[in-house]
Subunit: 349 residues, 2 copies
């Protein structure tokens, strides 16, 4: 098994979102063509997240019609799971580098970000979600969050809820987030609002599960307009797994400390801190953090300073306990068990 | 399935070679310590091939005893399949970068290469192989090749054969090879000798299979001192697979052209050549070439300009036909079927 080979719960690749709606998405080719002309580019690099990779050749076809014949178009074949996950090899070796499907994590003129918005209607599923939210008459406050893909309809969502008497609480989160109300798999600061319930509008369970783990005190209602279903986020199974992993790691002697080399997933200070404090810790650097890559290392447990979602969502697939830095502190006895919380990322690159 | 998750036939990880003998191998720590002192290094990067990764922490332990306390030791967690496959991320970010287990592919002061020699006896299995070789009285000429791991006993092998009346033919191969008689998974130029039979001494089937495919006219005898077995290389199954893949690709319209970004596996000109000649070809760049990474691309067939062994050994695991550049030329009708031959690499980085 490997990170690429099996779908984790809530995996965006299962939603079919891209397949249903991509024909009407706007790839902003004119922005790319302008950049090619401006820079007299000879190489264009295109990066798509997993669910949109199959669109790459078609976008390349369309671009070929618009740029000079001597321009080479390169498609990134690297896995891509977010704006944190730029193909830096391609970025450094192309004159114009385009990252599709995610909003910018940091302003840079090295990357053209093309956020792709879903054209799926959101109000019908929010209408349905009203039955699962606390009634506005009793609990008017409701947080509202969504993903980059549905950001184009954020005001529509807000208006719909306000028309039904809700007091919609939103915020922009922190520097890692581009938009008001936006969440990432590793950052739910936009849900840090004065409301006991939060409505998440978006496809899949990947984001709302993180949201519920980060805010265990809130009632998280999921309105999924892609799969046309309303559910309530349930973190019980995941939390049990986390406690289980921490307990199993308590006996560990040799620790592998993973430093992820992906541009937006590295926490060097955190890794150094653990190493300095533990003579039985070994620093392991890698981009894709997969069970196969770690199986060759003879460790008792791992602490992953990279993407927290690999730890929480793929955790059970590793041959040894895989913990977040916070969970590591509990396992080695530096923190009490009740301090267990969801690991999030707040800086930019 | 992924490149890392399943063992291909002849995979070195199956030989147990590293497990049996690594305790007595020489990691040349003094060379590393000297380099640390000379450069006043603060970061040391260590890279091990898959079969030796489990030794990494122990080598790190030993090094820690010898270098100043403020030096950080980093273990590469990237897959590593040869001297062609340096962890360039780690190389660029450490003051001293050490690559274990392979002989240098190119002279560079950026890398300390520590070739690890097996201490396994080779003459007993060569003795046994005499029964499978043509008798010296009838066919005295025999080519002799081995891998970097057994290079320390190459003269012993030669002497043994010469003492039995053989006329041992050896050569250094080309620039990609460090030693006389050495083969790589992608280069068998050292077997290009005036002899109809070749004795390969080494563990596993990975190398002799490539050797037999590259030299189909030669009788290739495998003397495996690690698994203590003598066999004759049989390429029939592999050649059938290759012909099958070429035939299946003949109907392909959309081609994915893979450019591998690993330092020693890129053939840019080859990739460009294919792209310029075929309007339905798309350039895809990646480091690890795995079935999972390609499944997301909607192509009819792929041509891999990177490591030929991924194409030949892992080929059947990809969802669409995966060809070498030579096989591609046959599939699109530029070359006749009888020109099918094994793909090899001859340049250095």
């Amino acid at each position: 098994m490997s990170q690429e080979s099996e779908y984790s719960e809530g995996d965006l690749r299962n939603t079919g979102m891209s397949l249903k709606h991509d024909r009407e998405w706007d790839y902003e080719l004119e922005r790319i063509v302008e950049a090619v002309e401006e820079k007299d580019a000879k190489k264009i690099g295109l990066q798509f997240p997993e669910g949109l990779k199959r669109r790459g050749p078609k976008v390349a076809d369309d671009l070929r019609e618009l740029v000079p014949e001597d321009v080479t178009i390169m498609l990134s074949g690297q896995p891509c799971y977010g704006a944190c996950d730029l193909d830096t090899y391609l970025m450094k070796r192309t004159d114009v580098f385009v990252h599709f499907g995610h909003s910018p994590m940091k302003d840079t003129d090295k990357v053209i970000y093309v956020p792709l918005f879903s054209n799926v209607e959101v109000t019908p599923i929010i209408e349905e979600a009203l039955e699962t939210l606390e009634p506005a008459e009793e609990t008017p406050e409701v947080g509202l969050v969504t993903t980059a893909q549905h950001m184009n309809r954020f005001e529509e969502m807000r208006d719909f809820l306000e028309d039904r008497g809700y007091d919609v609480k939103t915020r922009r989160g922190d520097d890692r987030l581009t938009h008001e109300g936006q969440v990432l798999g590793c950052n739910y600061a936009s849900a840090d609002v004065p409301a006991d319930q939060v409505l998440y509008v978006g496809g899949g369970k990947f984001h709302p599960l993180g949201l519920a783990m980060e805010h265990p005190d809130k009632h998280v209602v999921i309105a999924d307009p892609v799969n046309n279903v309303v559910t309530v986020a349930d973190t019980e199974k995941f939390m049990k797994q986390r406690y289980g992993a921490v307990h199993r790691a308590m006996d560990a002697e040799k620790w592998g400390v993973i430093f992820c080399t992906k541009i937006g997933q590295g926490r060097w200070e955190k890794a150094q801190e653990i190493l300095e404090d533990n003579d039985d810790a070994y620093l392991i650097t890698m981009d894709e953090v997969t069970p196969d890559r770690l199986r060759n290392f003879d460790m008792d447990a791992f602490v992953n300073t990279g993407c927290p979602r690999i730890t929480t969502d793929d955790g059970p697939r590793f041959h040894k306990p895989m913990l977040t830095p916070g969970e590591y502190e509990i396992a080695v006895g530096n923190e009490p068990l009740e301090n267990l919380e969801f690991d999030t990322f707040h800086g930019t690159w």
